[in-house]
Symmetry: C2
Subunit: 305 residues, 2 copies
């Protein structure tokens, strides 16, 4: 399918970003509702913990990026649902494990008690584990080569060279002096890898991409992902638990290096804006088909939670 | 490929079970060695923990079952390697998480300190998480429909309806009166699901199976998997940490219902033998092609660790 025909099928300019993102957030909520186990069955408590930690909250940034990227290649949203859900399931699992007492020991997430507080630590551990399994189960539902390829991409992004590895680098770096290059490397693994996977998984659902188009989308995702983290650091200082839905001021309390501790608040905000510009520039070649990705980069920088 | 040609290619009767299993154990060790991350790289500590918990130990029961099942359908061992490694990676992750302080809080595994004792709890948590990701990464390496299908099968077996769900049922059941039917159901999820996946993943590497052949192999795996757990319960009572490589007497200390607490030692041993017979009967139709599966069922019941 050509970009032109996708733009005919999706007259994006007729719908505001707010309406589009709300529609997609509702869409992913109903996909997640469907793929998560019902609260019944032998492991009912586990199913309940998985649903608790995944449904009814969250900005759904990764699914939104996947849907937005799929518009670049003219894919129907229905083709993106499995990948979008898998991304959010991986993200939800990582939040549960990240909040555990042996990690950040946090009690507030998405405006409600963390999973191990609402249930118990063992159940929360298993809920994270089972959400990771479920992500690959959902992604592998269609038995074809593209599904296998998507599984490999997501597994790479979640694993030792991506998100989990980034968590470890973060643990190792806590309380240790660092510089901006090291911090950037850390976040390119911890949050960047999954955000890049989101863009690639979405884009792959439509027309095939040329190698330089893939690289351009990856440059967009790299910049947008880092901007997301820089803004997170600013919000950790400027935000409140009420607006963030999670504990504020956590980084300073844990003596973690952040973009704010390295650049100051104003420096970090300027960095976020320049990353947004980089993200936009990477999309130049795609014209109007990339409008949602551009709007997402704006929203990532302007958000207040 | 027909069963007959597989028997020509694999003259199994010329090699003893001991030699065959040793060769396959060495084979899976070298596959795991290759797919696990090197100890270098940004998350070196995480990679080291993943290697520590996976290499140089374990009976490799699930890989052995996969290789043995693949002989039924005449597959080359090389076609089974990815599935066998993925199974063992999932198993290794589950052992790490199962040993954590919030779960069984165990300090000895495979004859050495558990991962969280040798490293730390946060690193062990992440090592388990990253091993699960790696399993799907390895399984999805070949971008084809069979790989996607294998990912779905493994993810189902590892998730809320399988291994992780069984762990939760086990948590919920601790200290609660139970009967043999409930205990059997628990173990059909906790250990049975992955053992059944091992047999199916192996068998799928060769000639296509008829539906009733698939069912027969599943009946074998169900019986062999349960026998494995019954013998585990006997060894927990009769074995020592020195031979088991893990803490003995754990179930009684944790007030867990076991096949020994329900049936007595002699009753549990008799149950294991009758399950072995069931497993053998399920293989009747496969003749000599199933010799390794039959020998594995024998070994599962006769093992001392």
């Amino acid at each position: 399918m050509s970009v032109a025909s996708s733009r005919t099928a999706n007259p994006v300019s007729d719908v505001t970003f707010a309406a589009w993102s709300r529609e997609r957030q509702q869409r992913i909520e109903s996909v997640l509702e469907r793929v998560l186990p019902a609260g019944a069955g032998p492991a009912a408590r586990l199913a309940a913990a998985m649903r608790y930690a995944t449904l009814g909250g969250g900005k759904r940034v990764r699914p939104l990026l996947a849907y937005a990227a799929s518009e670049v290649t003219g894919a129907d949203a229905a083709r993106v649902d499995a990948g979008a859900a898998a991304l959010e399931l991986i993200h939800a699992y990582s939040l549960i494990h990240d909040d555990l007492p042996c990690m950040d020991d946090d009690s507030l997430r998405r405006g409600k008690p963390t999973c191990h507080v609402a249930f118990d630590v063992a159940t929360a551990l298993l809920a994270g584990d089972a959400l990771q399994s479920l992500a690959f189960c959902v992604l592998a539902q269609s038995p074809d080569a593209a599904a296998a390829d998507a599984c490999r991409l997501l597994a790479d992004a979640a694993g030792v060279l991506g998100m989990a590895g980034g968590q470890q680098v973060d643990l190792d770096a806590t309380g240790v002096a660092t510089d901006e290059a090291s911090l950037t490397r850390l976040h390119s693994m911890k949050t960047g890898a999954l955000i890049r996977a989101a863009v690639q998984l979405g884009a792959r659902c439509g027309r095939p991409l040329a190698a330089d188009e893939t690289r351009a989308l990856d440059a967009f995702a790299t910049a947008a992902g880092l901007a997301f983290q820089v803004v997170d650091d600013v919000l950790d200082v400027e935000g409140s638990a009420a607006t963030l839905g999670k504990t504020a001021g956590k980084d300073a309390a844990q003596h973690k290096a952040t973009f704010v501790s390295l650049l100051g608040v104003d420096g970090a905000k300027a960095r976020a804006r320049s990353l947004r510009d980089e993200a936009h520039t990477a999309l130049d070649r795609f014209g109007g088909a990339a409008v949602r990705l551009r709007e997402l980069a704006d929203w990532i920088v302007l958000r207040t939670r």
